[in-house]
Symmetry: C2
Subunit: 192 residues, 2 copies
């Protein structure tokens, strides 16, 4: 179990990184937000980079928990489970004021200058797509996707198109791009 | 015609902002890159924000020139012209080492903290989608898209999905996500 202070830093960091991105976020803003003294930050984290990498880990724990809950929902057909995951994600974005996806934000900001973030964020997207692909393969086997469908490729497309829609949703403070993308995608993949 | 020094700043800024993003880019790096003295920067630009906003204008000039050339290519059918524009854009990304799209990068980094960038970048995406929509409407009228297609909505989807693929291309230094997205999109929109 995580130390409660460390947990508070990571939770505050998630929300602050989502809004500010990496370089615009000062450690002082994080200390002000949490009311925890500076020494404690450096007790739990080597530096800001270590902190942000751990915030991503924490974010991914939430994503995987959401995937567990949604993709494991056996009362729904496989495609319904995938769509339900994105519906829940959209509700999450809404609760944060449509700040979009942390992976997309940090991926854009940092991948040109920091290879550790670039590789980590790419691995996160691959992991999410991999889990989607499992559910899409189930849909294919049940005949909900055409037999010649490629679940791996379709899962990658879904994750990528969602990220573009999440950017636009962030720019417009509006969920419409997310819903439009899902409607388009699920109509397209199910056509013979 | 732009002052030659100002032009050099904007050209260098485009490439540096694409790689570093906004906050990681110092004015000094720009001066080092161009070999132009600091006073000259402040002669042409009020501050870094003014500079970056003008780099976006410069970037959009290039985008509109590309749209003029590709969408005006009357030897190609309308959908072929749209696809050709993205093919040229991908070649452009390749020439820059797959750094992706400046609008997507700055849009993600800055829209949470700077409303001027947020609105400007949203307006840029809207303008690009608007031009695509004109060409998609032509495709619809020629029967290359189903009659019930909504060119405005399809153009928005195209721009958004492209941006997600551009993020993934940036993370992987690889054009494959861009090409996969276009294949998927053009297959989907042309199905009855």
């Amino acid at each position: 179990m995580l130390h409660v202070t460390k947990q508070r830093f990571l939770d505050a960091g998630l929300s602050l990184l989502l809004k500010h991105g990496y370089h615009d976020l000062g450690i002082q803003a994080l200390l002000d937000d949490t009311g925890i003294p500076k020494g404690s930050f450096y007790h739990h984290f080597r530096d800001k980079e270590d902190f942000a990498l751990q915030v991503i880990d924490r974010y991914m724990e939430g994503v995987h928990a959401g995937l567990d809950a949604c993709l494991g929902e056996r009362n729904l057909p496989p495609l319904g489970r995938v769509r339900h995951f994105f519906y829940m994600t959209q509700l999450h974005y809404e609760s944060e004021g449509y700040m979009g996806c942390l992976l997309g934000g940090l991926g854009q900001e940092l991948s040109g200058v920091n290879d550790q973030f670039r590789q980590k964020i790419e691995a996160c997207f691959s992991a999410i797509a991999e889990r989607m692909a499992g559910c899409l393969e189930e849909a294919r086997q049940q005949g909900d996707l055409p037999p010649e469908s490629d679940p791996q490729a379709l899962a990658g497309l879904l994750v990528n198109c969602w990220e573009g829609a999440a950017l636009r949703s962030r720019l417009r403070h509006d969920p419409a791009p997310l819903m439009a993308m899902l409607d388009f995608y699920f109509r397209a993949v199910t056509l013979p």
